[in-house]
């Protein structure tokens, strides 16, 4: 079986020194993989490379066996890869509904878009109540729900999440994580979740990949990873 997402030997730099030095791992279809590691480990760089915002100097990204090297950012979305960017990326000048619609416009199917919006408003109930509010009127938790819902409107097969728990109350985080897990179990969605909140991420993930200074330090089942004392102390800080 081909993996939903396969990274091989990714080397990525920001102008000068590389940030990722040959990162390889796979994400199985329908699984949730937590990508954890401290500040500066390279999590955001990795996600931005997968979504195409950064170009690797070496290595490949395969989505369901298809090499993405020559596929632009906009076309990766069309290939079934969605990203919730760092800082959520809610467009604050647009209303909630406009933000949501934006996620599915490329599909060019108004009926399907309406159906997707209805699903999302069911899934994230607070959004339905504030449909015409502008993005900047939302709380942090609502923004995160909106960002995830907007990515899901595209009906992706692989979802990349960058720090969804940042700045949110633990209760809200738990709620969001639960919704994600249910979604994966129900629809077979694949999730790659970059998190500093290691405990929270590992609690919903099937597997955990630990990134340290641009290299994969560990890659094993989430439960095993949460047990590993030395790794926890050295890289995860809890």
């Amino acid at each position: 079986m081909t993996a939903a997402l396969a990274l091989r030997g990714l080397v990525v730099g920001h102008g000068g020194a590389p940030v990722l030095h040959g990162v390889s791992f796979e994400v199985d279809e329908g699984s949730v993989v937590a990508l954890v590691g401290g500040n500066g480990a390279g999590k955001t760089t990795l996600l931005r490379t997968v979504s195409g915002l950064l170009t690797p100097t070496a290595g490949t990204v395969h989505l369901h066996g298809r090499d993405l090297a020559r596929v632009g950012v906009e076309d990766r979305v069309r290939a079934g890869l969605a990203q919730v960017p760092e800082g959520r990326g809610v467009i604050t000048e647009l209303t909630i509904e406009e933000n949501l619609r934006l996620g599915g416009l490329w599909r060019g199917d108004p009926a399907d878009l309406r159906a997707a919006l209805a699903e999302m408003e069911e899934l994230f109930e607070p959004l339905a109540r504030r449909r015409t509010s502008l993005g900047h009127q939302l709380s942090g938790g609502e923004r995160q729900m909106l960002a995830i819902a907007r990515a899901l409107v595209a009906r992706p097969r692989v979802l990349l999440l960058d720090e969804p728990s940042l700045g949110l109350a633990p209760l809200v985080v738990a709620q969001i994580m639960r919704v994600l897990r249910e979604l994966c179990d129900r629809t077979g969605l694949t999730v790659l979740l970059a998190e500093q909140n290691v405990a929270g991420a590992l609690s919903v993930a099937d597997r955990g990949v630990v990134l340290g200074l641009g290299e994969v330090v560990a890659d094993r089942p989430a439960a095993a990873l949460a047990q590993d004392e030395t790794l926890r102390h050295a890289y995860l800080g809890f």
Binding site: H14, G15, N39, T44, E86
Partner: protein
């Protein structure tokens, strides 16, 4: 470089240039005087844009301010019975005061405005010059103001022609203006301007008042542009709005970008181009077997076209301008020589490609500065970014 060396160099350069006027015929000397006049303006503009990061599209208006200041003062002095050197110097003072005041007002505005807003304000100013000239009775609208004729001083009359004398005066004024700018650039004020240009907040935290620095840059630039305007009036004995159109303003900017933003050598190259290119193009079109109507249409416009194309090509391809390209070539030669001895372990930066557009260089390209051994002329201005990682 220390101030005394700058002054000695300037004096030496001026003597050389004055000596060179003996080799030129009257028409060439007239062109040289024009080059000197435009050099005042381009030098001021390149310091403003390159050093302090403020963009002015209105330097023709500042030249006009200087020109009118000169003309009105000279006429007033003529009325009071003053003539000769005293009258000329009085006119210069008038030019400095008027252009300095306009520059101060613009500088105060510029200190509060971001790039495109300031550019728009200065553009509006230059478009409004004819209207201002028409609305103030003393400026006499489109007809403009005529000034008394300054001939060659009596002791020199048998030696040099009028054009040569005018070239001398123009060169002297330009030498003063450029020397002033060099001193400003190399002094503490120049350092502060670069700091403000690169990062206003950081400069403010280091105890620099960004607003004051920006205003100073604008005033200095305006005064030199005003001096350029007064030289033009001195040479042509008249000043009118038609001499300072929007096109001239844009051409000055084109000249400093083509020469290389922030570089005084580039400003000089630009000033030469502003005068010589239309003349060269005119010579070529005159020589070609074209109908008169066509030649008339090409007059001026073809040269501007060349300028515009050059500007776009340079911003897209060589952000350092002509002066930058010269320095880069020199540095490459030096690097090759040095590499022979040092085993070639020299790290060169990747070229910054087409996307980088004319960021003001730290100006290592000034003509008189001792050579620095860096292999590339411009250092990237953006701070080194570490990947943000949540």
């Amino acid at each position: 470089m220390n101030a005394r060396r700058t002054l000695l160099l300037a004096a030496g350069g001026l003597v050389l240039a004055i000596g060179a006027t003996f080799l030129l015929d009257p028409f060439r000397n007239y062109q040289l005087a024009l080059v000197a006049a435009y050099l005042c303006a381009t030098a001021g503009l390149t310091v403003l844009v390159g050093l302090s990061g403020q963009l002015s599209l209105g330097h023709a208006a500042l030249m006009a301010a200087g020109g009118y200041g000169y003309a009105l003062t000279v006429n007033a002095l003529t009325g009071a019975g003053v003539d000769g050197v005293g009258r000329f110097l009085g006119g210069i003072v008038g030019a400095v005061v008027v252009s300095g005041v306009v520059g101060l007002l613009l500088g105060l505005a510029g200190a509060r405005l971001h790039g495109p807003y300031l550019a728009g304000l200065t553009l509006t100013l230059v478009v409004a010059v004819p209207a201002v000239a028409a609305s103030v009775p003393a400026l006499q609208g489109d007809r403009g103001v005529r000034t008394a004729f300054d001939g060659v001083p009596a002791p020199l009359r048998s030696l040099i022609a009028l054009e040569q004398w005018q070239a001398w005066v123009a060169l002297a004024v330009a030498a003063v203006a450029v020397t002033g700018l060099v001193l400003l650039r190399d002094g503490r004020a120049g350092l502060r301007m670069r700091a403000v240009r690169d990062d206003e907040v950081a400069a403010a935290l280091a105890g620099i008042a960004p607003a004051r620095v920006k205003v100073l840059a604008f005033v200095a630039s305006a005064v030199t542009a005003g001096l350029g305007g007064s030289v033009l009036v001195f040479v042509t004995q008249s000043v009118s709005p038609g001499a300072f159109p929007l096109g001239l303003s844009l051409l000055l900017l084109v000249a400093v970008v083509v020469g290389g933003l922030g570089s005084l050598l580039g400003a000089a190259l630009g000033a030469v181009l502003v005068v010589l290119l239309p003349w060269l193009v005119g010579t070529v079109t005159d020589a070609l077997p074209l109908p008169d109507a066509v030649v008339q249409r090409l007059d001026g416009t073809l040269a501007s076209l060349v300028f515009g194309v050059l500007l776009i090509a340079l911003v897209a391809g060589a952000p350092g301008g002509l002066a930058g390209a010269l320095t880069a070539a020199r540095a490459r030669r030096r690097a090759r020589r040095a590499a022979g001895g040092a085993g070639g372990r020299r790290r060169t930066r990747p070229s910054r490609g087409g996307a980088a557009a004319a960021p003001p260089t730290g100006d290592p390209s000034a003509p008189a500065r001792p050579a620095t051994p860096t292999p590339t002329p411009s250092t990237p201005r953006e701070p080194v970014r570490t990947p943000t990682e949540g």
